[in-house]
């Protein structure tokens, strides 16, 4: 076992599982006995956690970065290969044995060949560049669509030219009002509405089940359809592709660019009429030849029609997209009802199953609209926030499609309780709020499916390693040693419990504030808003009460202890502690002791807040409380006095 405390390097390497096995065992043994090092390790862990959270929040590189860069790189590499194959044969060994006229003839022939190859190269290169730059203009105009209010009508035709099966014809209508976050898309098959997605604001949205997963990354259209060989099969894929882009205008250009930039693709262009450019791209892969052609209006850079054609052996499949209408409109010119559920009326007349659950009927008297749905979700969350802090710690809310699933689970020594509520656009399906009564050990929600992250309650040790001073204090105030040990154990247990409670309450308050930013609350009714401030108040009161309780038991013990140490005028730190270093650093930078005192003040605050101010992750609660106290013990006398006074002043 290590004789000294662990170094920070060792602690970090231990966290990262980078210690050599022998050293690791020693460090672990030491950690099991030393709450101080455990506390330091928790501090380091929190430090890393904070940076990694910041990194998670950072938006660069974006999720599609690797794919995008791969495409760019492959295109560049392919271009370099082309240049390489046409490059001049300078590295070829000179033909020394050639003499006289033969040599001149050879030189002439070589220079003619050179001219031809240079001409061909430049000519082809020029054409290729022009085709690519046209595709780029196409992409730019497509991307630009997302910025303005737009109305698109497109006809999509899927067919087999040799007509084994009937063709499919879909009419797609898209409205987009990005300024107000309003979007809608409707698909009609033979005049009948088959799919829709609508979004009347950034928060309120819905879609028919065809648009299943709007969050996944879209597979490029040519790859998606090349395995589907009847129009009916291809239709499913096409709808999935649109679903993945549901909140955007219908765009083909990015896929075309990726296709054209792919290694092995041939790109070209024709000018069939003065105002039309026809872009062509084709590739052959896995015995499938794919050809893509776009007729683009040169005045607007917008496509008039596009055809993608897949050919394998004798079979041919074709997708034809004709732009029937594409116009920029002022936001106000879009009829507002397109941004709501087009099937709402039909749904309203459906006979809904009504389950005899008071909470449920209270929450959902009839089929909810999107707004009611949002409000319901908020109410359910409130319900959970009324529960003990442990519950909210295990709270899981999934918002997917039109289904909102709220789940919470808690486990204590003698009880296990679960809440599960699922709401969808058509009807609430299940709301189960089970009481804290003991339930069977097997819960429908297990942590195995990864849906729930139940933070384990830190184990509170009934006996903990004692520091000499602390022991001495208790011995001095007790009749005998046994009594002192009992008191000390009770004291530490209570302090740890209170600290854990405080942490949980603070966590719950943070979570409440995170979940309900002002803009989300604004969607809820006034009564819900009142309820929100009430819950918030309750949490704050709980934090205050627990803080006071913690102070009430901690200060009588440590106050005198510090005074005693102050009189003895000694620094008992072993020498490698963070705390002492921090104080030294500050002294070295010329700051007065006030700053060090305020650091102590922070420690007291951290202690009183159960460690939540400096670190929010659950860990070794006991170690943390004592770690905070330890700082008080080991600081300099004069600073301690200020710290204690400051701590007292919080009370008044």
């Amino acid at each position: 076992m290590l004789k000294k405390h662990c170094s920070e390097e060792q602690l970090i390497a231990h966290l990262d599982n980078e210690l050599a096995p022998a050293l690791r065992d020693e460090v672990e043994e030491h950690l099991s006995l030393c709450w101080k090092c455990r506390g330091r390790r928790a501090d380091l862990e929190n430090g890393i956690h904070r940076v990694s959270q910041a990194l998670d929040r950072s938006t660069y590189p974006p999720p599609n970065w690797t794919d995008r860069t791969r495409r760019r790189l492959l295109a560049e590499m392919a271009a370099q290969e082309t240049n390489r194959s046409i490059s001049f044969p300078s590295s070829r060994p000179a033909l020394r044995s050639w003499q006289g006229p033969l040599r001149i003839a050879a030189a002439l022939a070589a220079s003619v060949a050179l001219c031809v190859s240079v001409y061909t190269y430049w000519f082809e290169r020029d054409m290729q560049v022009r085709a690519h730059s046209q595709i780029e203009r196409f992409v730019q105009s497509d991307l630009g669509l997302g910025q303005q209010s737009l109305h698109q009508v497109m006809l999509l035709e899927l067919r087999e030219p040799n007509a084994r099966t009937a063709a499919k014809e879909l009419r797609v209508e898209v409205w987009s009002d990005p300024a107000a976050h309003r979007h809608a898309i409707r698909l009609h098959d033979a005049g009948e509405l088959v799919h829709a997605a609508w979004k009347s604001s950034a928060q309120v949205w819905g879609s028919s089940p065809g648009f299943t997963d709007t969050s996944r990354t879209a597979t490029p259209l040519p790859n998606l359809l090349e395995t589907r060989w009847t129009p009916q099969e291809a239709e499913t894929q096409l709808i999935a592709w649109m679903g993945a882009n549901a909140w955007k205008p219908l765009r083909f250009a990015p896929d075309m660019r990726a296709f054209a930039q792919e290694h092995g693709s041939e790109v070209g262009l024709d000018v069939p009429s003065p105002h039309t450019i026809r872009l062509r791209a084709s590739r052959a892969r896995n015995q499938i030849t794919t050809q893509w052609s776009v007729d683009m209006d040169t005045r607007t850079n917008r496509p008039q029609s596009q055809t993608i054609r897949w050919q394998k052996d004798g079979a041919v499949m074709e997708l034809r997209v004709v732009t029937e209408q594409e116009e920029l409109v002022a936001g106000i010119a879009i009829p507002p009802d397109v941004f709501t559920n087009p099937m709402a009326e039909a749904i309203a007349t459906l006979p809904l199953p009504v389950q005899p659950q008071p909470t449920a009927t209270e929450l959902y008297p009839s089929a909810p609209t999107s707004e009611q749905l949002t409000e319901s979700a908020i109410r359910i969350e409130f319900l959970l926030h009324h529960l003990p802090a442990d519950w909210t710690r295990a709270l899981e809310i999934q918002e997917a499609e039109n289904v909102i699933v709220v789940r919470g689970v808690t486990e204590s020594e003698n009880a296990r309780a679960v809440i599960e509520a699922e709401v969808n656009d058509i009807a609430w399906t299940r709301t189960a709020l089970q009481s804290l009564d003991a339930l069977p050990a097997i819960s429908p929600l297990s942590t195995e499916d990864g849906a729930l992250s139940v933070a384990p309650e830190p184990a509170v040790e009934s006996v903990f390693p004692l520091e000499k001073e602390l022991a001495a204090h208790f011995v001095a105030h007790a009749a005998n040693k046994d009594e002192a040990a009992k008191q000390l154990a009770a004291f530490s247990l209570r302090a740890a419990q209170l600290a854990a409670e405080l942490r949980a309450e603070t966590w719950a308050l943070q979570r409440l504030d995170e979940r309900f930013p002002a803009e989300r609350l604004a969607l809820a009714s006034a009564s819900v808003q009142r309820e929100f401030s009430l819950v918030r108040q309750q949490r704050q009161t709980a934090i205050k009460t627990t803080t006071a309780a913690l102070r009430a038991i901690v200060l009588p013990v440590f106050g005198p202890l510090h005074q005693k140490l102050a009189q003895a005028n000694q620094i008992t730190d072993i020498g490698d502690s963070n705390a002492a270093d921090a104080v030294d650093d500050k002294a070295a930078t010329g700051e007065t002791t006030i700053s060090a005192a305020s650091a102590i003040d922070d420690r007291i605050r951290a202690l009183l807040a159960g460690g939540t101010q400096l670190d929010a992750s659950p860990g070794d609660a006991l170690g943390r409380v004592l770690h905070a106290l330890d700082f008080l013990q080991n600081g300099r006398p004069d600073e301690i006095t200020v710290g204690v006074i400051e701590a007292t002043s919080i009370e008044h």
Binding site: S7, E8, E9, Q10, L11, I12, A13, D16, E18, D43, L44, G47, I48, R50, V51, S52, A54, L55, R57, S58, T59, Y60, P61, W65, T66, T69, R70, R72, L73, L74, E76, M77, Q80, E81, R84, H263, N578, D581, A582, D585, I594, S595, A597, S598, A599, D601, D602, R605, Q613, L614, T641, V642, I645, E646, S649
Partner: protein, 180 residues
């Protein structure tokens, strides 16, 4: 190296290492587009070397060096023409606020801003889940010093966080002392 082999190598490296390298580039330049360009340039340079038949032992370290040099070159050409500076000299004083960032970026940049160039590198690579041995290889440092850099970085970050947290209590402590 043949085209197919080289391009496969590049693709695999991009998958494993691309994002980490991009984060390093972004840390140096503070601009998404420039970072993309630097990373692309580094990968292309590597590709050319491979095609030329060069034997590159540690492709991660190689590309990171290229990105670092390109960023330094860019900074030099933007700012003073002080050609005798080493990349690390330049990068240590690289203006963190050279361009505007969205708030999410600023948080990370502010955090990393207080660290030295080396500490930033080590911290980012650690967050990209590289093993200490790999980090050491990438940066050409000793494996044992990785933990040292990390510890120092975290200590600085925590000191800064504490400084911020104690902003309010600072005044109160001063007041209390006066009262004494």
């Amino acid at each position: 190296m043949e085209f197919a082999e080289a391009s496969r190598f590049i693709e695999e490296l991009l998958q494993d290492w691309g994002q980490a390298l991009a984060r390093q580039a972004f840390r140096l330049t503070g601009d998404a587009e420039i970072s993309d360009d630097l990373v692309q340039e580094a990968f292309l340079a590597l590709y050319q070397e491979l095609r030329r038949g060069a034997d590159i032992e540690n492709a991660r370290a190689w590309t990171l060096t290229v990105v670092r040099n390109l960023a330094a070159k860019r900074y030099r050409s933007l700012g003073t023409r002080n050609e005798c500076l080493e990349p690390s000299d330049v990068l240590d004083q690289f203006p963190a606020s050279a361009s505007t960032h969205p708030d999410q970026e600023r948080e990370l940049r502010d955090m990393l801003g207080i660290l030295s160039h080396r500490e930033q590198e080590v911290m980012l690579l650690r967050l990209d889940c590289l093993k200490y041995r790999e980090i050491a290889e990438c940066l050409g440092i000793d494996e044992s010093s990785v933990a040292t850099h990390l510890a120092r970085a975290i200590r600085k970050l925590q000191a800064a966080a504490k400084e911020r947290a104690s902003h309010l209590s600072y005044a109160r402590a001063a007041h209390a002392e006066k009262a004494l």
